[in-house]
């Protein structure tokens, strides 16, 4: 009995230490999204060059869905080179889809002229309904969808090379 009470100390310290320690590597900008593990919301939108694209056409390959806007400065400008790099390096393996968030096609095209057009599909979401379906709070937000059409990760805020690489690994893309 006298010795048993000493068990209190590790019983208290170990679980608390473990829970707190497990959180140390967390990146708090990776906000939990109810979509993770769920199929990507379906949509059908017009591209900036006038075609219609539906989400059904995206199945079969991993997809990176990037919500952005020309007015979202500097965050969307900061992450633009990361997306350009993605298109250059993994353009064959992954589909990149940009979706405008509360923006006009003219302003978006001007942005692409100024900062570079990587050639990936850009969709206009004039009613904002697709942004709503994805639960976008404010651009930039990026969703990583695997080849089966399941959302695997969501990144809030500008992407960096490191966060891009980590999230790509979740949808089966990597060096």
């Amino acid at each position: 009995m006298r010795a048993a009470r000493w068990l209190l100390v590790p019983l208290l310290a170990i679980p608390i230490g473990w829970v707190l320690f497990s959180g140390l590597g967390r990146d708090p900008s990776e906000i939990p999204s109810p979509l993770i593990g769920e199929p990507m919301p379906a949509f059908s939108l017009t591209t900036l060059d006038g075609r219609t694209l539906s989400s059904a056409e995206l199945s079969g390959a991993p997809v990176v869905v990037n919500f952005w806007a020309s007015w979202c400065i500097p965050a969307c400008v900061e992450e633009h080179p990361v997306l350009m790099d993605l298109a250059a390096r993994y353009g064959e393996q992954v589909l990149i889809v940009g979706i405008l968030y509360d923006d006009t096609p003219q302003d978006a095209l001007e942005f692409l002229v100024r900062y570079g057009d990587g050639g990936w599909t850009q969709l206009d979401d004039p009613s904002g309904s697709v942004g709503l379906a994805f639960g976008v709070l404010g651009p930039p937000e990026t969703f990583f969808v695997d080849a089966a059409g399941i959302v695997r990760a969501k990144h809030y805020g500008p992407l960096t090379q490191a966060t891009m690489a980590r999230n790509l690994a979740l949808i089966g893309i990597g060096p």
């Binding site: 000493w6 209190l8 100390v9 230490g17 707190l20 497990s22 959180g23 708090p28 906000i31 939990p32």
Partner: protein, 661 residues
């Protein structure tokens, strides 16, 4: 140059703190007075060194010395002096520096005050405090060095965090909160000393109670000031979001409040000693946990500092404090065993017990909700967040029961209460409570929460006032004094009791204000072109014009103001604004609040169209919000009244002899 002085102060501070700890432990074991004095003086020196380091940082900030990385990151040549000064605590490394200053200042105050009293306890307390100080100096020496230099020196710095340079309250809220947090190291150190020396007696309890109450006052003021800051700055019309870091400040407040109450029972006998020791230890561990949560990037929060290696250090600190506390308590468990018999069911003792169950239960619930996302991710890899609705639902019954006890506890007698006493003391308050709730329905209040709060507050306030009136009438009759004079005489003769009553009244006022403002708030969003109007609850707002210009005080900041005419119960021309800071992605809202006794009119500019001058405005009409701040101020006043030194020397406090430092 400045960086070298600051860095030297920190490193010497670490060495001096370690010396203070070693000398104090040796002094405690040998009883050597000279060594005890050396340990004590080393703590003063550590305080001086951290003051020097803080001074160096302030000089560097005011002089925009961008050769120091911290200054380059958190200051710009255009930053006004006031915001340069408060940048000392606005970012990670500086806040730890400031924290260390406050901690060593509290320690020095304690050790100087009792330099020739409590000779058995003080060396151990000094050792405990010196170890905590050494930990913070070590953090600043290795992972969180505030004096890192950069070359080449930039011509312009990044400027302070946009959110933190938007309101003068940033000069008030963090220092108050930090004074509370750091001060709570003292009761912990005193308790460690008492456990080691097996002196868990009345002397220890009196000391710990007093030295908990002082930081508790600062913590309370800091939390209220933080809520006020959030309300005035963030533009969402609210003041408390159950954000993890708000919870981190609330948790030690809850356990410290439980302690303040349990100490009153423990003082009357040997019961609740173990419990009291556990509360003091938990409170300190929770203050460290709060630091860990804000400084490690573990939990997402608007308060989070940038992620850094400091997290691992603070984790080690939290665990070390937890283990030391737990080992000491387990070691001394036989000494701590209570000898008191269980109290009568209806008595002041049982009211205190219930109070403690409620406060710790609430603390546990809040801790669970705060850490649940971490726990869930560790167990199942699932990421989720626990939102305000969960916290509101879980905490409401606790708060309701505590409101009830705030009046019941003080009015119940020690020992067992007879039916006659109960009828005598509680029938009138119950009727007043019912009357309050009825008046509330008449005034248009709907919903169980605000009506119950109003009823309970009416009940408790009447029970408290009845106690004051009863005592004042007795004194007035026997001495022939007038009402006010007799009440003042009664209160100053027993400051603890009547200060406590005043604090309870403040809580009741704030509780009613919280409940009514939460249920009675109305809001609307309006998109207005210049010249257009919108109406809400008797107010009409008219958008006159959109003005865009750089801020006079800091031209790097660009302000867009809507000029809005407000007509209604309160009127005026308001200029809610959005400010674009060069180092912030999002524009920072600058809401405008008009306050009257009954309600706040709160106006935020959400968005604007520079082409047409159209604005999106958000209007809130928040009833009684100002009374939350009034209630908070009354709580602080009451607690300050309770510990204000009276003419009588309180029992158990030794008097200091002159001529020793």
């Amino acid at each position: 140059m400045l960086a070298d002085i600051g860095h030297a102060a920190v490193v010497i501070g670490l060495a001096v703190s370690l010396f203070a700890a070693a000398a104090s432990v040796l002094a405690a074991r040998s009883g050597d007075i000279g060594l005890a004095r050396a340990g004590r003086r080393a703590v003063y020196v550590a305080c001086g060194l951290s003051a020097m380091a803080c001074g160096v940082m302030v000089i560097a900030l005011l002089g925009h010395d961008f050769s120091i990385l911290y200054v380059a990151r958190n200051n710009a040549t255009t930053t006004p002096p006031f915001y340069s000064f408060i940048s000392l605590w606005a970012a990670l490394e500086g806040s730890i520096l400031f924290w260390t200053l406050l901690l060593t200042a509290w320690s020095s105050l304690l050790l100087y005050r009792y330099r020739s009293a409590h000779p058995a306890l003080m060396p151990w307390a000094a050792a405990g405090l010196a170890v905590v100080a050494a930990f913070f100096f070590a953090v600043m020496t290795w992972p969180g060095d505030p004096f890192v230099s950069v070359t080449p020196v930039a011509a312009e710095g990044n400027g302070p965090n946009a959110l933190l340079q938007n309101h003068p309250f940033m000069g008030l809220h963090p220092p108050l909160l930090y004074l509370g947090y750091t001060g709570l190291a003292i009761p912990f150190a005193l308790t460690v000393a008492a456990l080691v020396t097996r002196r868990l007696d009345g002397e220890w309890l009196t000391l710990v109670r007093r030295w908990t109450l002082v930081p508790w006052i600062f913590l309370t003021a800091g939390i209220v000031a933080g809520a006020w800051w959030s309300y005035e700055v963030l533009g969402w019309g609210g003041y408390w979001a159950w954000d993890p870091v708000e919870n981190a400040a609330l948790l030690p407040w809850l356990t410290a409040t439980a302690f303040i109450h349990s100490a009153m029972v423990a003082e009357r006998g040997r019961s609740l000693r173990t419990w009291t020791v556990i509360l003091v230890t938990t409170t300190f561990v929770l203050t460290l946990l709060g630091t860990f949560l804000t400084r490690s990037g573990v939990i997402e929060s608007v308060h989070s500092f940038t992620q850094s290696a400091i997290g691992a250090w603070f984790l080690a600190g939290v665990l070390a404090a937890l283990v030391v506390g737990a080992v000491l308590v387990v070691w001394r468990l036989p000494d701590l065993a209570g000898t008191g018999s269980p109290p009568a069911l209806v008595s002041r003792e049982s009211a205190f017990l219930l109070n403690n169950l409620l406060f710790t239960g609430l603390a546990f619930a809040v801790l669970f909700g705060t850490l649940y996302p971490l726990l869930a991710e560790a167990l199942s890899g699932e990421r989720l967040s626990v939102g305000a609705p969960w916290f509101n639902r879980v905490s409401a019954p606790f708060f309701a029961a505590l409101l009830f006890l705030a009046g019941v506890g003080p009015a119940l007698p020690w020992g067992a209460a007879s039916w006659g006493t109960l009828r005598d003391r509680f029938v009138a308050p119950a009727l007043v409570g019912l009357a309050f709730a009825t008046l509330g329905t008449q005034a248009g209040l709907r919903g169980a929460a605000p009506l119950l709060t109003l009823g309970l507050a009416g009940f408790s306030a009447t029970a408290l006032l009845r106690e004051v009136v009863r005592a004042a009438r007795g004194r007035g009759r026997s001495r022939g004094e007038g009402w006010i004079r007799a009440a003042w005489g009664v209160a100053t003769r027993n400051r603890r009791r009547y200060g406590g009553y005043l604090a309870h009244l403040g809580v009741l006022v704030a509780a009613v204000a919280v409940a009514v403002s939460a249920s009675g708030s109305v809001q609307a969003t309006a998109v207005l072109n210049p010249g257009q109007s919108a109406s809400l609850a008797g107010y009409t707002v008219t958008h006159i014009d959109l003005v865009r210009e750089p801020l006079a005080a800091d031209p790097r900041v660009f302000e867009t103001r809507a000029q809005v005419d407000v007509e209604g119960p309160q009127r005026g021309t308001l200029q809610p604004a959005l400010r674009d800071y060069p180092n912030s992605v999002a524009a920072i809202a600058t809401p405008i609040v008009m306050t009257s006794v009954g309600e706040d009119f709160y106006l935020t500019l959400m968005a604007y169209d520079p082409g047409t001058g159209a604005v999106t405005l958000r209007l809130f009409i928040n009833p009684l919000v100002a009374w939350i701040w009034v209630g908070g101020a009354v709580v602080v006043l009451g607690a300050a009244f309770a510990i204000w030194p009276g003419r009588r020397t309180p029992a158990g406090a030794a008097t200091a002899a002159p001529g020793s430092t």
